[in-house]
Amino acid sequence: MGEIGPLLSQLFHTGRDWAAGHGVPPLGAQILMMAVQVGIIILSISLVPMVLVYAERKVAGFMQGRLGPMEVGPFGILQTLADGIKLIFKEDVIPRGADRWVHIVAPIVACAPAFVCFAPVPFGKGMTLVDLDTSVLFIFAVSGISVIGILMGGWGSGNKFSMLGGLRGAAQAVSYEIPRVLSVVPLLMFYGTQSLRGIAVAQQARWLGVLPKWFIFYPVIGQISFVIFLICSVAETNRTPFDIAEAESELVAGFHTEFGGIKFALFFLAEYAYVFLASAMAVALFFGGGDGVILPGGLIPSWIWFLGKTFMIVFMFLWFRWTFPRMRVDQLMSFCWKFLLPWSFVNIALTGAWILWRAHS
Amino acid sequence: MTLYHFLALSAVLFSIGIYGVLTRRNVLGILMSIELMFNAANINLVAFNYYLHPENLWGQGFVLFVITLAAAEAVVGLSLVLAIYRNIKSVYAENMNILHG
């Protein structure tokens, strides 16, 4: 296997030229090829949750001394597929007291931004769909829209538990959004760009020719940033230990109590897409993106590196879920506002000092 | 696409906002209409910046301030609404009249 980025790019160019050569207007051809690219991304991102759900169940099983799903396919590998099919074919129920349109639109609003967010993610060399200059800000901004989806889900269900869950979830997501953004600020200061690709590329260097110059390896600032980013990402996706918003044992199931079938699947999809997105961002921001460690000679292409590292982070998410107990809602908030926020400010100040020091020495 | 297009669009949005401010009974509705007006003004600023002074970014900087102030306004306004709601159990503007002559 080699780098597939240039290959894909070549392919799209060829495709566009072919379409233009067959009577399609240039604008149309452009839009067509964009649609193809977007389609590829959406398709692959849609597949990711299936993998993740399987991984989650397996990891949970192993952590609890069980085997996990074993029935469907070898090692239960087709389990999620079966689940997906089941969900799709379920009856679409809209509760009587629900706000009909809001109820229908909510899962879409929650899910769609998750896909949009993948546009500027640098999966490998030449594999960035849109290399936005403001891609970090873009991802934060667009992923913020999903919170609206959560609120809509809570409101549109016509169920007070759902509404409470929605409120809690939204409050949590909005609160943790702040330290999350601030934890990335040191990187932006450090590399002087907001482009995910730019940041990832800037980290492809070595200290003493050995240790990768990934941001995580910068003493103190790198680690603080990463820890805050990781914690906030966990909280953003409403996962344990920050899953009070959808705590099954307390709020039925939070904002998506009244959702079933394909709509539930969309919420589910969104959650796992965000887990994957957060992991991918972490890799691009802190782990040098597609930068290889052991075999720098390009034996293993960058996108494999990227995905490999991403799945390592994803594993951390799963690991957290089955390790930590759930936090109370007030603990959750004070942890965010009184611990993470001040430390992210401290980290920004430290980074500023670092940059000043670097500029003067 | 000329400057006039954007200005006309923003004028329409602004007027819709004015209509909302004048007629919504719900204070929240009024606040939302105000946000509409803010955004109409922001479009104006960015459009002027883009068409008349592309060499600098003062218009965009100004919009950032407007957004910031809108956030401050919304936060204070909404907490006021909540406080009033706690006291008179209503969010309708015509019920908030204990200071009338």
């Binding site: - | 004015i18 401010v21 004048l22 007629t23 919504r24 009024i30 503007a93 015509e94 908030m96 009249n97 204990i98 200071l99 009338h100 002559g101």
Partner: protein, 648 residues
């Protein structure tokens, strides 16, 4: 200019460190461990180290004195005022004296004031006092000097009245404050005159002007005497000495620090600083000499009969201050400052020793003590050292300085002063022997107190030991080490006529005093009582301190109060009844007329306008319907009109 050390260029920190600690203790002391006492001690210790460093530099010649620095303070019209640091012999020695004694007293107070209320405030005052004294000592101009002088006076007032629950303490504080204020009035007048004549407060500039004819000898005479008034007040010279004995109402460490070693010496220091004026006006020096001589003799006689151990020491202090003033008066600039230094050491020691005794037996009355040497050895030994030094026992520090003073008096031909000085030395030895024997030797006169007496804690005895060593060796060190000549050099020192006879007479009178005292007070005390009866007129005169307090009361306080009463009567009967009441009556009449007018004319107008406004308001209130969006509607209307007006 050679490389000047950091400590010298930052000498202003010496007073500022205690000030900082005072401020911190005042505001945050409550939350600090030991109420911030250690902070004060630390600050003064730092100042002490800096002072020692500066002294060392002067002694080994790496710093040439005088060394002056100044910074602008404020300016009034064309006159810039500065604050500054002047390091020369006297100021460096005073720095050491103040920091040493202050440091030791603060350590001592840890034990002595341990159970006292307002512990924190005590330390804050001590630090503030130290700041003002150091600021005064380092001053390079009269204004800064005066500021330090007054702040110091205020601190003295606070600390004398520290135990204000007792009326006596409060009254003593007032007395001290008002009496010294009287002297300060003269000082202030002197300052104004100086500024009027010379146009600057800076010591160096003034000195320069003294010899270019700006200041006539007459003027110098007036200025010198006015400034000396301040000294008389602060150093408790006759006739303003009355406050110092009463000041013993303050806690004993305060007496040791402020009213024995440092503040009262400031008067002497002031005379030393004003010496250029005196040099121009020798007549003024004569006045100074005689004031000092009178005070020395006068206070020593009173000390003979005082029964309160602190009072004895207080009169002794006055007497010794008299000595210093005397020394300056006869031209013994070096001798006066030398005595100031040694006196600070042994008088602080004596006071702290007395404090230790009082701490142990809870009384000031020597007749209730006795034989305490059996219970408190350290205190006894250290007190004995101080006693010897004060009495001028050969080769203790008091001996050297006193000898130098008397030698100067004799050598400059002031034979009367020399004679009185010798007699005073004799009296000094006598009353100190009396005090020492009554307190530490003989039989315990009150068994209970004796039994409960015990040695004081370490924090109190260590300062005593340090001071005891200083009392013994300081004189020798400074005398034979050449410090006196080096530090207290004065350009026109008088020629001295050396005389071994004078030395012998001086030493002899001290020793005779010791001998007589030992005979009287180590033997049967009944002889002493009999003597008192035989000489009862003199004895009574002395016991009542020459009736000075009573005379002042009759001459000044009573007339003042009578005048105040008369004025009060006048105020009440004449001013009140004719003017105030009369005006009141007229006002009432006028107001009655006015009231009629008000009711019928003005109110009618008011009611009428009120009616109009009500009616109009009823119309206008319809506009304010409490319906916000209605207002907005009108605003929008206005906006539309504006835009339309702009277009067309």
């Amino acid at each position: 200019m050679a490389e000047t050390s950091w400590i010298v260029t930052h000498a202003y920190l010496i007073p500022l460190l205690p000030l900082g600690s005072a401020v911190i203790i005042f505001f945050f002391g409550r939350w600090l461990p030991t109420k911030g006492a250690w902070l004060g001690i630390l600050a003064i210790a730092a100042s002490f180290v800096m002072s020692v460093d500066i002294l060392m530099r002067v002694m080994d010649g790496s710093l040439t004195v005088p060394f002056e620095m100044s910074w602008p303070w404020f300016s009034a019209g064309i006159y810039p005022f500065e604050w500054g640091v002047l390091l020369d012999g006297p100021s460096i020695v005073m720095l050491l004296v103040v920091t040493t004694v202050s440091f030791l007293v603060q350590v001592y107070s840890l034990g002595y004031m341990h159970d006292a209320p307002r512990f924190k405030r005590f330390y804050a005052y001590l630090s503030l006092f130290t700041f003002s004294m150091l600021g005064l000592v380092l001053a390079n101009n009269y204004l800064q000097f005066f500021v330090g002088w007054e702040v110091m006076g205020a601190c003295s007032y606070f600390l004398i009245s520290f135990e204000f629950e007792r009326d006596a303490a409060g009254a003593a504080g007032n007395k001290a404050f008002l009496t010294t204020r009287l002297g300060d009035l003269g000082f202030y007048g002197g300052l104004l005159t100086i500024f009027f004549v010379v146009g600057t407060f800076n010591f160096g500039q003034i000195q320069a002007h003294l010899h270019d004819g700006t200041v006539s000898p007459h003027m110098a005479y007036i200025i010198a005497l006015l400034v000396f008034c301040g000294s008389v007040g602060k150093s408790a010279q006759v006739p303003l000495h009355v406050w110092l004995p009463d000041a013993m109402e303050g806690p004993t460490p305060v007496s040791a620090l402020i009213h024995a070693a440092t503040m009262v010496a400031a008067g002497v220091y002031l005379v030393a600083r004003t010496y250029p004026f005196f040099a121009v006006a020798p007549d003024a020096l004569n006045v100074v000499a005689w004031v000092g001589t009178t005070t020395a003799l006068f206070a020593a006689t009173i000390a003979l009969t005082a029964n309160d151990i602190k009072k004895v020491l207080a009169y002794s202090t006055i007497s010794q201050l008299g000595y210093m003033i005397l020394a300056l008066g006869v031209g013994g600039y070096a001798a006066g400052l030398f005595h100031l230094t040694t006196h600070a050491a042994f008088k602080a020691l004596l006071f702290l020793g007395a404090g230790s005794v009082i701490h142990a037996v809870h009384t000031n009355d020597m007749w209730k003590m006795g034989s305490l040497s059996k219970q408190m050895m350290t205190t006894t030994v250290t007190f004995f050292c101080g006693f010897l030094a004060l009495s001028g026992f050969p080769f203790t520090s008091g001996y050297f300085s006193k000898e130098m003073i008397l030698g100067t008096a004799y050598g400059t031909g002031h034979y009367a002063i020399f004679a009185i000085g010798c007699f005073t030395a004799f009296l000094t030895a006598l009353y100190m022997t009396r005090a020492f024997s009554l307190t530490f030797l003989g039989e315990p006169r009150e068994r209970d107190r004796f039994a409960h007496a015990h040695e004081s804690p370490w924090s109190m005895t260590i300062p005593l030991m340090v001071l005891a060593v200083l009392s013994i060796v300081l004189g020798y060190l400074m005398h034979s080490g050449g410090w006196v000549e080096k530090l207290f050099a004065v350009p026109h020192a008088p020629e001295l006529v050396e005389s071994h006879a004078a030395t012998l007479i001086a030493v002899g009178s001290s020793l005779f005093g010791l001998l007589l005292g030992a005979l009287l007070y180590l033997g049967n005390l009944e002889i002493v009582a009999k003597l008192a009866q035989v000489f009862s007129p003199i004895y009574n005169l002395l016991v009542h301190k020459y009736y000075i307090d009573e005379i002042y009361w009759a001459l000044f306080v009573r007339p003042t109060m009578a005048l105040a009463k008369a004025l009060d009567w006048f105020d009440f009967n004449v001013v009140d009844s004719i003017f105030v009441d009369g005006f009141g009556w007229i006002t009432r009449l006028a107001s009655k007329i006015d009231s009629w007018l008000d009711d019928h004319v003005v109110d009618g107008a008011v009611d009428g306008s009120g009616y109009v406004v009500t009616e109009l308001g009823a119309l206008a209130r319809k506009a304010q319907n409490g319906f916000v969006q209605n207002y907005l509607l009108v605003i929008t209307l206005g906006f539309v009109f504006l835009v339309l007006w702009k277009i067309f």
